[in-house]
Symmetry: C2
Subunit: 557 residues, 2 copies
């Protein structure tokens, strides 16, 4: 074996000393071969004088569907930002199309190495609380577990099911994984769980968490053996302080989780590395936690360092402090020279929204009371988080109907989209739109069609635009103001990412125009439907108290 390529004179990142040293890096057949000042003959010479060379970034907790796109488009978008490997949990497409959805994603060829977690919680709760197009049962897991692209069981979200006495679907799924592969990682999702509850959660083998953290939760979770996956919303000064002061670098990785399509043009995991550094983490350690610790967590023993035998995935930086990327290489080749193959999905994936068309009266809420008002359970949005609060408010009643249009609340409807029957759930929302309506068939995780509005006309417009187009994200204010088409499974677009990003950017701007005030309005709206995220959410079955996992009434009788 002889080297075919050399990267000369770079300041090369050494994972094991966490320092940069001037070296030549030799590559043979896509793998690092020798890192040294030795002079060996090579056909291809990359002059990297003055550049900093680091391993390609590895993102071990993320969902491609959160970018509302398909693997090939995602691959193109993130490679340029230095992400060369991801571990994707395809639970969104699985909620729509079941195991066929997962396999459709897995079967796409991409330049980016995409590994997968098996979605563990589809539906996120159970069939009494939400209707989905697919579900994951132990027999599906045993079909997927030996697929060489599968590295882990994806985030276990259902704390109640995991820790309850008696039979537990979640524990059965974990057992299947452990039966086939004793080293299979079990990823978690346990916001605000601590103390004895955290121990119970860990007891069943779920030992990673990527949800929003506080300094206290980071310390408690790491010292109880949980691997932390730190996403952007957890990158606060206080959180970085606890990671740095305890030198917890071996026990966490930087991850992205969800990145909007219109944000992918700006950056990906590279932004989190930069932000961690800006918040006080030494850059050498931030790089470590976006390359080596994620690879090690996922048992990706063939990558994550610039060392002989590892995949030659790397980034050349012009500037290490600012993390300015000069070029990205995948298996020794510049990503600008690599091309994606075309994507392909079965025809059935383009016809998945089975709702009947809506009428204006579908947005009336019948209220059989003699009282002039009723007390309603209202969802209050936090403009800086995806957690919501349950508040009780009086809402007037007239002519046997709730007079929601006369309040400053919005109506939220969820049309069940899988069975073809008209089945609608209702909720009221505080701290949201000032006028118009927004709707989407991209709704965490069940992806029924959710519309929120201040008037029936705009809501009907939005609902029917989504159904007619077989998927999308829409804003109306007298007319449809913005529409992002999501025709694959009703949740992702197979169009070029730039086109999707532009239409999604319009949606975001129009959401601002109609008064939706949130750090990430597109994701905030789409998370109102997630019944495992505190504390009150809505599905096609109704309003869910996410702690008790019970449906609660819209108004108290």
């Amino acid at each position: 074996m002889q080297p075919d390529t050399v990267v000369k004179n770079a300041f090369v990142y050494n994972t094991f000393t966490q320092t940069f040293e001037k070296k030549h890096v030799y590559i043979a057949e896509g793998k690092f071969y020798h890192i040294s000042l030795d002079e060996l003959e090579c056909e291809n010479v990359i002059d990297a004088t003055g550049k900093y060379m680091i391993p390609g970034l590895i993102d071990i907790h993320m969902h491609i569907e959160s970018s509302m796109t398909i693997p090939t488009e995602f691959s193109k978008a993130v490679l340029r930002h230095g992400t060369t490997t991801v571990v994707a949990d395809p639970h969104e497409i699985c909620n729509v199309k079941g195991i066929e959805g997962i396999e459709s994603y897995m079967s796409q060829d991409t330049v980016l190495d995409i590994f997968y977690g098996i979605p563990s919680s589809v539906p996120s709760t159970n069939r009494d609380l939400e209707t989905t197009g697919g579900c994951i049962l132990p027999q599906n897991v045993s079909r997927l577990v030996n697929n060489p692209k599968v590295l882990c069981l994806g985030e276990v979200m259902n704390f109640n099911d995991l820790t309850k006495d008696g039979d537990s679907l979640t524990r059965n799924i974990i057992s299947v994984c452990q039966h086939y592969d004793r080293a299979m990682l079990i990823e978690g999702h346990c916001p605000k769980i601590s103390g004895l509850d955290l121990s119970k959660y860990l007891y069943y083998g779920v030992d990673a968490d990527h949800t929003m953290q506080s300094p206290e939760s980071i310390y408690e979770k790491i010292t109880n053996g949980m691997f932390m996956e730190i996403q952007r919303k957890s990158l606060s000064k206080e959180n970085v302080d606890v990671l740095v002061s305890h030198r917890f670098y071996e026990y966490f990785a930087l991850v992205t989780d969800d990145v909007s399509a219109d944000h992918l043009a700006l950056g990906h995991l590279n932004e989190n590395v930069r932000l961690a550094h800006q918040l006080g983490m030494p850059m050498e350690q931030a790089i470590y936690c976006a390359t080596y610790t994620p690879a090690r967590r996922m048992h990706l023993i063939d990558r994550g360092t610039i060392a002989p035998g590892k995949l030659a995935d790397f980034i050349l930086l012009d500037n290490v402090e600012e993390f300015v990327i000069s070029a990205v290489y995948k298996k020794g080749v510049s990503v600008t020279q690599l091309h994606e193959t075309s994507a392909s999905f079965p025809e059935s994936f383009y016809h998945t929204i089975c709702c009947p068309m809506a009428e204006e009266e579908d947005f009336d809420i019948v209220c059989d009371t003699d009282r002039p008002y009723v007390v309603c359970n209202v969802i209050e949005i936090d403009p800086h988080a995806y957690f919501t609060k349950r508040v009780r408010m009086e809402v007037p009643v007239a002519d046997g109907k709730l007079q929601w249009e006369k309040t400053d609340l919005a109506l939220l409807t969820v049309f069940e989209r899988y069975t073809g029957k008209k089945s609608v759930a209702y909720a009221l929302v505080k701290n949201t739109l000032k006028r118009g309506a927004v709707g989407s068939s991209w709704t965490h995780d069940h992806h029924n069609v959710m519309v929120m509005g201040r008037n029936k006309k705009d809501m009907k417009l939005v609902q029917n635009a989504i159904v007619e187009n077989q998927g999308g994200y829409a804003v109306a204010d007298g007319e449809i103001k913005a529409f992002a088409s999501l025709q694959v499974g009703g949740i992702v677009s197979d169009k070029p990412l730039e086109q999707l990003a532009e239409s999604l950017c319009n949606v975001r701007n129009e959401l601002t125009a109609v008064g939706y005030d949130h750090d990430n309005s597109v994701m905030s709206f789409a998370t109102l439907s997630l019944p495992v995220s505190p504390e009150i959410k809505v599905t096609d079955k109704g309003i869910v108290d996410t702690y008790s996992q019970k449906i609660i009434p819209l108004w108290e009788k």
Copy 2:
């Protein structure tokens, strides 16, 4: 789930802060459940006031056959020293009995958790250089790789085969492993390999080494991505200094490799932890590298820390600085309350030494020269290492025979034991016995019958005692002075370890009595046959230059 057992008031080792803190540790069904000051009800209470509680020790590079015993006896012996999990490479029994030998070991039930590496190098070189009773081919690997007890490919020893151009058996075996399990660890054995050679070795995915290190080799290997397995002979002040000063704690584990049967009564991995600390490693870090880093290296995600969900394997220490063990628990139960089942091996394992009986003339070396002496290639023993040196010495010739008995060299013979034919190889050895003879059918790794002596009579006595008993380690000086019976495969004993240890201790004492001067004479002799350990060794095929992997003549013509 409710806890069934609590360990109260111990100073509990936290892996992630590497500190001790007073806590109660709750256990449910053999796994840690909750570590806290919370008071929960429990049926079994272990009062650990004043004790230090650490995870059970995990030894990821070792060979049970090096203790010349069987798994059940080994389990009993090491549990009391705090070793609760091992990863064994059964390449010795495999050299004798092939895959049937491996499976005979794997099938034994033990209290100790014994995982296995698939022997990668059986024979250690090839059939032209040594005769063995078994060999490992790619098809054997594919049969073993999915066995849930298999964690890795055992030490790759044949640098030349691994790195040569063209077809390579070793690379084929590695490919089979990676085909079935992309996360399978590939363990190495690369003494004195550095620079470009080290890179080549790593290039093919072999990224651990447990051989004897120097400070320079530790630094070079770790910074090139190699995981270090530090055994007792590498535990020098200088080596500990480099590990400590660079804080390399994430990149090495303490291991035992080979521990003699008569040493097992004194200690096991616990001794290496104690020694590392005596040499300057903080005890908290020495514990880390004997519990957490070895578990992580082997993807043993269910153990290695005292944290919820992990196996309740633990040690209570009376004194942490001196590592004084008070009690050892396996899955929450004191090992004094656990009992081994009986071992069982096929009858054929007791009839494996097929040599014809020796005559005195078998120890004559015919030398067809007219000269009064010839220049011989002589093996020089280093009394403090297992490496040997090649020296050239004049040896007198008379009556057409080498007059070796008239020199201060010993004759060394290897009788091939597998085919039933009489085939003998000869060598001369410097720095060894002053009189008598020693012999063994436990000879790294081919286990042909090797005898070394200063006179033919004692050599014949030893050779025939081993053949008659179908395996053993013997010393003669006029008569058989000591004999350790090794009847299973001719390399291990199925008798109680105490009995074996006593007879082996006699062998060691008698070796000293006849002048064999070495830190570990029993192992030193048994390693003279290993053709992958520098620099001149002997097999049934003759004297091997281990660098060139060529047979060299006894005398130069």
